[in-house]
């Protein structure tokens, strides 16, 4: 990320703060910055601001809504000339969900992804986001949105979502 290299640039700082107020449409407790989909905010050689966004999943239906929400937020804050760019490489990883984002997910009742997605084949042992019990089991590798899987807690018997590791 280029937040550091542009540390002296007030507009860049302002845009980062602004994008922290743009919520993910399907998990509204998370901002698009928490999700790690804002890849950079920088000033190009021509002085124009450029914002790089990357999709989570190729087919995520929220991608267009997120782009549109970011555009509206930029326009409303006086950054109408800032360019939104699509970034595909490197591909998004759940490793990019910020520590703050992980805490917000857990508080919202969604078990956050483990710190490293590298061991995709090993199913993580999750703690229930409601009662904290480790006695949980996977119901399905898929869930209500492309980024979630479906689990249940065998202690409190409640179902819960898990943010998939990818």
């Amino acid at each position: 990320m280029s937040a550091v290299e542009n540390a002296g640039n007030a507009s860049v700082e302002r845009v980062w703060q602004l994008l922290e107020t743009v919520a993910d449409p399907e998990i509204p407790v998370l901002s698009i910055v928490d999700l790690g989909i804002v890849r950079y905010v920088r000033t190009a050689a021509d002085g124009r601001l450029r914002v790089g966004l990357t999709p989570t999943y190729s087919g995520c239906p929220a991608t267009a809504a997120i782009r549109s929400a970011a555009r509206s937020a930029l326009d409303a804050a006086g950054f109408a000339d800032a360019a939104l760019e699509e970034v595909l490489a490197p591909p998004w990883s759940s490793d990019w969900v910020s520590p703050d984002g992980r805490a917000k997910l857990a508080a919202f009742g969604i078990a956050p992804p483990p710190d490293r997605a590298a061991a995709l084949s090993a199913m993580p042992q999750l703690r229930c986001p409601r009662c904290g019990s480790p006695a949980t089991e996977r119901v399905s590798e898929f869930g209500s949105t492309p980024c979630k899987a479906h689990y249940r807690c065998n202690a409190c018997r409640e179902p819960f979502d898990h943010f998939k590791c990818i």
Binding site: L53, P55, Y57, S58, G59, C60, P61, R67, L84, E85, E86, V87, L88, A89, P90, P91, W92, S93, L120, S121, V139, S140, E141, F142, G143, S144, P146, H150, K164, I166
Partner: protein, 264 residues
């Protein structure tokens, strides 16, 4: 939004024509398989599997959009991803014949999915190091999703094959009926050869050997015998399809054909 195309400027016309066909083959295979999986929505054996198949479909259609968007730029005739998806006829679709085969029962769908997931694993892994930067980026992204798909379809293959007498028999039948389409997956033609010679696509012979090893290991785990290799009379990737593709396109394209340019 625009993503920088890393296509070398100029280049010879034959290479560019082959590149376009190659990208359309990948795109159409994902699109057609995604559309097929979408037919399960509301009909799968259990709610969890219904969601699973719909999620696979969503990823595949997302991959198809990225690839069709690239194909539209390569073609440079003013068509966009929607025009390519909704306004081409069956002979212009270049998907693998396997992808268009009907859903059948759950075993047919799982066997078809597992065969194609394992194919995508090899192809996307190879393409992640492609000399074509745009394809490499799309492949690296798709590969992560494909690993997840393969875990789902491979897991079900084991459970169905090594399950009850009924599930074993049905999975065996599905395998025997779909196996004849697999030779096309790794049979190179002039497009594939041009792409691998240019460092754009992985050589199919080596990818095919790895695929066969993986398939054989999965079948042993599922207690299913591996069928023998068969001749290769299917040419979906050259636009020659089984009767099923036309019906699929009739449903998928109905709205745009009936109300051209309709938006929501």
């Amino acid at each position: 939004m625009s993503a920088a195309a890393e296509v070398p400027a100029g280049g010879d016309a034959a290479l560019e024509a082959a590149r376009l066909r190659y990208v359309l083959r990948l795109a159409d295979t994902s699109l057609v398989l995604g559309q097929r999986l979408g037919e399960w929505v509301g009909h799968a054996p259990a709610l969890e599997e219904d969601l699973g198949l719909a999620n696979l479909a969503l990823d595949l259609i997302g991959q198809a959009r990225l690839l069709l968007g690239y194909a539209a730029e390569l073609e440079g005739r003013g068509r966009d991803e929607d025009a390519l998806a909704f306004l081409r006829d069956a002979p212009q679709f270049l998907n693998l014949t396997l992808a268009e085969q009907p859903n059948g029962d759950f075993a047919d769908t799982i066997v078809r999915q597992w065969l194609i997931d394992a194919w995508q694993l090899e192809i996307y892994t190879g393409l992640s190091g492609s000399a074509d930067g745009r394809l490499a980026a799309i492949a690296a992204k798709s590969l992560k999703e494909t690993r997840y798909h393969y875990r789902f379809s491979g897991g079900w293959l084991t459970r169905l094959g090594d399950g009850t007498d009924e599930s074993h028999a049905r999975t065996q039948r599905a395998l025997e009926s779909l196996w004849r389409f697999t030779e096309e997956l790794f049979a190179p033609d002039e497009v594939d050869e041009r792409m691998s010679a240019a460092g754009i696509a992985p050589p199919l012979a080596e990818a095919g050997a790895r695929w066969r090893e993986r398939i054989a290991a999965d079948l042993r785990r599922a207690t299913l015998p591996c069928p023998a290799r068969q001749p290769h009379p299917w040419h979906g990737k050259r636009g020659v399809h089984t009767e099923y593709l036309g019906h699929l396109l009739a449903e998928m394209q109905h709205l745009q054909r009936t109300y051209p340019g309709a938006r929501w």
